[in-house]
């Protein structure tokens, strides 16, 4: 195949540049405010959130057809590589550096993780975010969120995206869409933060941004040939989906309870609402199926559980446990309906990223606006930020505003990025490669070899790409 040196050369240049930066000291001395218990929990939470990405690779990889399992999984896992480096270089700065107009962080604040080790554990001009853990832990915790977000998108254009084009898109998405959203939402000087928008662990930043980018992706890339022909798409491996769901649920405790950034009662509360909403959505999904005469399926239970996790994400630390039952159930049913609608439409969002993450994230944001309990200021006075359910309107309206802005921004910006990428590297593989499967054509691999002829040879090359008239004896031309 073609030799493709650019990625390596870029990486090598980065490593050399990094070499000559006097980094911050290796082991940042914990200043007085660092709490070992909170740090223990946040180290754990960071590791847990890391595990979500392999978990996602199994959740997605088990749902595609056998010939795209490896490529689908790798699309998630590769984000561990790409985003980890991007984050060190400028990502963390763009998200949590000194605010530039409340929109984005200064790329130099923590350029190459300079100053991260030395920084006091405070962020924001007025020290709005005071941490009891080393800033480095916070930076790693936040990194894991940045990793999983583009990985989530891949479900929508699975089975037809070109690997190299996806890599480019992922970089751009992270810098242009993810980092600004994270900044606006979670940096104390960020726009949404200032407005008081509540997004506990990433309903907008992670799930809506991914869900809308997924929608745009499915539109730009278009239907799979097999989808157009209305062929069956049997999932390659349902146990993988169950495993992925287990890993996601497990990791999500890090995601949500970790977003308390302390081993506190708030973490406990987020833990409990997360578990409860997921349970309610899991049952909601399959019981709803059952009611309409469809068998309760393992795939349904898994998708439902993940939708519940998505929907509770923005709300986790703000709502009560009983309310999380309601939130989970509503999210499960709405996404179930959304998937049904999508199935009847021509939209080929392969793994329903938009109906699950996009819609789930929106439901979560709105529910937060409805069920958030009132916070208190330092002086004990109520903050007036309770939800609709408690008779207050402001928070609800704020949530909706943020929701609309994030949705529009994510959708439009990704649309532009896809078009841009497509100019540089075609986003979609050829029809022939699609037929052969991405595993073989993008990575030269097969998921499984059982030692029999059959399981060995996959990819029933039907040779559409061959010169039809001439009886050419060339190998099937497979582009890189």
């Amino acid at each position: 195949m073609k030799k493709t040196p650019i990625p390596f050369l870029l990486l090598a240049a980065l490593a050399l540049a990094a070499l000559f930066l006097k980094g911050s000291s290796a082991a940042p001395e914990a200043n007085g405010e660092v709490n070992a218990g909170d740090t223990a929990w946040m180290l754990t939470a960071s590791a847990l959130v890391l595990l979500m990405t392999p978990g996602l690779s199994f959740f997605y990889g088990g749902m595609v057809r056998y010939k795209n399992v490896v490529s689908t999984m790798l699309q998630s896992v590769i984000a561990l590589g790409i985003i980890s480096l991007l984050w060190v270089v400028v990502g963390f700065s763009l998200a949590f550096g000194d605010s530039i107009g409340g929109i984005i962080g200064n790329p130099l604040t923590f350029f190459m993780f300079q100053n991260v080790g030395d920084a006091t554990a405070k962020l924001g001009s007025t020290g709005g975010l005071a941490l009891s853990v080393p800033l480095l832990v916070f930076a790693m915790f936040q990194l894991k969120f940045a990793i999983i977000t583009p990985a989530l998108i891949t479900g929508s254009f699975a089975e037809r995206v070109r690997f190299s084009a996806y890599l480019l898109f992922m970089c751009l998405f992270s810098l242009v869409i993810y980092c600004p959203l994270a900044h606006m939402t979670w940096h104390p000087d960020g726009l949404f933060f200032q407005w008081g928008v509540k997004d506990f662990a990433g309903g907008t930043v992670v799930h809506m941004s991914a869900g809308l980018a997924a929608l745009a992706g499915a539109i730009v890339l278009g239907q799979r040939t097999s989808h157009r022909k209305q062929e069956a798409h049997p999932p390659a491996n349902i146990p993988y989906v169950l495993l992925g769901t287990g890993m996601l649920w497990f990791g999500w405790f890090g995601f949500n309870a970790g977003s308390a950034v302390a081993a506190s009662g708030l973490a406990a509360s987020a833990f409990a609402t997360t578990n409860t909403a997921s349970a309610a959505a899991m049952l909601g999904w399959i019981f709803f199926d059952w009611m309409r005469g469809v068998k309760p399926s393992a795939l349904g239970a898994c998708i439902g559980a993940v939708v519940g996790l998505v929907a509770i994400t923005p709300a986790a630390g703000f709502v009560t446990v009983p309310h999380s039952i309601f939130i989970g159930l509503v999210a499960g049913v709405i996404s179930n309906l959304a998937v049904q609608l999508r199935t009847k439409s021509k939209l080929d969002d392969t793994l329903d990223v938009f109906p699950c993450h996009g819609v789930g994230g929106m439901v979560g944001m709105i529910m937060t606006g409805i069920f958030a309990v009132e916070g208190t200021n330092a002086d004990g006075t109520p903050k007036g930020d309770a939800g609709l359910f408690y008779g207050q309107f402001a928070q609800f309206i704020g949530q909706c505003k943020a929701l609309v802005i994030v949705a529009v921004f994510s959708f439009v910006a990704s649309l532009i990025l896809y078009k841009l990428v497509d100019l540089i590297i075609p986003l979609r593989v050829t029809e022939e490669e699609e037929e052969l499967g991405l595993d073989l054509t993008q990575h030269g691999e097969k998921a499984v070899s059982l030692g029999s002829l059959l399981a060995n040879g996959n990819g029933h090359a039907h040779g559409n790409g061959q010169a039809a008239a001439s009886a050419a004896e060339q190998p099937v031309p497979v582009s890189h």
């Binding site: 054509t441 097969k446 039809a468």
Partner: protein
Amino acid sequence: MKLILAVIQPTKLEAVKNALAEVEVYRLTAIDVQGFGRQKGYSEVYRGQEFSVNLLRKIELQIAVNEDFVEPTVNAIIAAARTGPEGQIGDGKIFILPLEDCIRIRTGERGPEAI
């Protein structure tokens, strides 16, 4: 009676089945096979080395038919299994074997009745 073996592209299975139903051939047995023919294979990567694979997945249909169904069956398969109007290398082969007898296990019937 004849036994028709047809090696086809896996993607054509559905179309061939439908075409056969139209000529009233409903019963058949399908087997996963690997074909070596003029169509060439592809390459795989393992531990950084590329190696080539020249087996291609096909489906073989075994269809027992009475004499007067032979031509309709063959024609239905050809029509449905061809890729594009001109056909493609790898589209497959049909083999016709003499069949001496056929027995339905359920009833013990023999011969053309049992097909």
